[in-house]
Amino acid sequence: MLIKTGIDRLDELLKGGVPFRSNVLIYANPFIGKDILMKKIATAGLENNEGVIFVLTDKSFGELKEEMTKVMPSFTDYESKGMIRYIDVYSPTVELKEKSEWATYVESPVNRERIAYSILQAHKEMEVEKHRLIFDSISTLIVYSDAKAVFRFLQVLSGTCKRMNTTSFFSMTRGMHEEIEVQTIKHLMDGVIELREYEARYQIRVQGCGEAVSRHWIDYLLEENEIRLTGAFRMGRVA
């Protein structure tokens, strides 16, 4: 079974979407569409009646909610239906705490144990069959600790997520880590969706993630809340 990313041509590239219960790394430079992609994935999940769990290390859940509502006006409806959970690892470090029955705070990104526990609890509380985990970002976790520790954490977490019928998406920022760290994390994933800026163009590429029409870099345009794949990848059209 495949689930949609919410970006039509990306789903076409993936021959329908990413495999259900897989874990996918979103690896990208800053400010070239990673956030848009993550929001699209969340939207597609909710529209498909999947529960969505956000783990946030770089913004408060209040900020995320505001951003999500902009791209998906019905977002708060899904929230009040209990289909959304936030694990906010950001606010306590900046002493900025807003209350919500849907949000759990973890004091710091160092406390991976608590993050793992909160994700497990969120799964148990939600009364849905399928979930998406949006983890933004593991870069912050690595900065506070090291890649191997995060690797072990993800190893445990990805097992949990598969058991809980969850497709997980982890973001990681290109340029923040050493190559060996990136390889360590990639090794653990079922697939990688990469975004890069190359010769003044934006490009996307999929590795793993089940089947794909093409494994090459594909050009895309970055719009306000949209990623539009413009490069050709249809079989027969590729020169």
Binding site: E107, S108, R112, E113, Y117, A149, V156
Partner: protein
């Protein structure tokens, strides 16, 4: 020696944790019950000084947690070694600050400093050995911990570590196994947290038990389901009330169904106890409960022969679970003697406790006997 205050746990530890010993709690990732050390801190707060080495949460959070456990320690008897603030670049208000959280040597310096200030009769608690290993390089960190353990053993202090069992390399886990005087696993079995004492090098026992951590009460050996049953008017309700810390009267599930429920908290045990009538009409309910119960208390009316006969049937019915019989109403003038009751219950040759539930006589004793038996049963295999 410091203790856990839980009768059986201390027994397994051969009385408690002696001076100079190190103990590792190896905790499965994703478990809620990680505050075992706070229980031991609370239990021994009057006896020893405490140094809490915090590497995954801020000192503020440590104090908050202590409050949740009603754990008050006088200022001079308690110190946090703050390995957290420098890590996230926050200022610290603590006296003992680890300036270089990526350097185990920095931890050692600060801990030895604090130890010198506080003296030998001190309990040191590490909130996360795994985190320190992740930060300081596994091998180097463990070497540092070995030095700390040696010092503890020399000066006769006590040291506890929380260690989250992430999938470390086998070689690392093996090294850890040999580094501590005692190792206790905490993991989930089904939905219940289970503690397994894997090694106690001062003549302790290898054992396991279910547990829960309550705030503010602390750690308890948990027994999820005990049944109290017996004939009509044998005194089940009085018995249940007598042993319960909290009692919830009959919950009407239908005209003929009455289940009572009590929470028992005694000598480190916490048990959920259900009272179910033992007479004919309730047989299906009893059968349903019997399969999943961990033990049964059968209450009989010592003044009533039919009640004793019903007890005899119930004893037979529950032959596969630990049981204890409560010979109630022993204060009544027409009560049969214990010898006579014993004879009437033959061939049952287990425990029969002389009781008067209305006066609270023999009730806790019966509970304790059963709880001990349940733990023995759990540790047979």
């Amino acid at each position: 020696m410091i203790t856990t205050g839980l009768k059986k746990f201390d027994e397994y530890l051969n009385g408690g944790i002696p001076k100079g010993k190190s103990l590792l709690f190896q905790i499965e990732p994703g478990m809620e019950e990680t505050d075992i050390a706070f229980h031991i801190m609370k239990e021994n707060a009057e006896k020893v000084n405490t140094i809490y080495v915090s590497s995954v949460s801020s000192p503020k959070n440590v104090y908050k947690k202590m409050e949740e456990f009603n754990l008050e320690i006088k200022e001079k008897k308690f110190a946090v070694v703050d390995g957290y603030s420098s890590l996230i670049g926050a200022p610290s208000e603590e006296k003992y600050v680890v300036e270089e959280p990526h350097d185990i040597g920095s931890y050692e310096d600060v801990i030895f400093h604090a130890l010198e200030d506080m003296g030998g009769d001190t309990l040191i608690v590490f909130d996360s050995l795994s985190n320190i290993m992740d930060l300081c390089n596994e091998r180097t960190a463990l070497e540092g911990i070995e030095r700390i353990n040696n010092e503890i053993s020399k000066i006769g202090a006590y040291i506890l570590f929380n260690f989250i069992a992430w999938p470390y390399k086998e070689a690392v886990l093996y090294k850890i196994k040999r580094m501590f005087n005692a190792i206790i696993y905490a993991r989930k079995e089904g939905s219940l947290p289970l503690m397994e004492i894997k090694r106690v090098d001062w003549n302790g026992k290898i054992a396991k038990f279910y547990f829960k951590i309550f705030k503010p009460d602390g750690l308890r050996i948990y027994i999820p389901k005990i049944i109290v049953t017996g004939s009509f008017k044998a005194g089940k309700t009085t018995f249940l009330k007598s042993i319960s810390k909290k009692f919830f009267p009959v919950e009407r599930l239908g005209a003929t169904t009455g289940v009572e429920y009590g929470i028992v908290d005694y000598k480190g045990y916490r048990a959920d106890v259900f009272g179910i009538p033992g007479r004919e009409g309730f047989a299906p309910l009893l059968d349903k409960f019997a399969g999943s119960s961990m033990g049964v208390i059968i209450v009989l009316d010592s003044t009533d022969e039919s009640s004793i006969r019903i007890a005899k049937n119930l004893v037979e019915k529950f032959r596969n679970v630990p049981r204890v019989i409560v010979a109630n109403k022993q204060d009544a003038i027409n009560a049969k003697s214990m010898e006579e009751i014993k004879r009437m219950l033959f061939p049952y040759n287990g425990e029969i406790v002389k009781a008067s539930a209305i006066n609270g006589v023999g009730t806790m004793e019966a509970f304790e006997i059963l709880a001990d038996k349940i733990l023995e049963e759990l540790n047979v295999n």
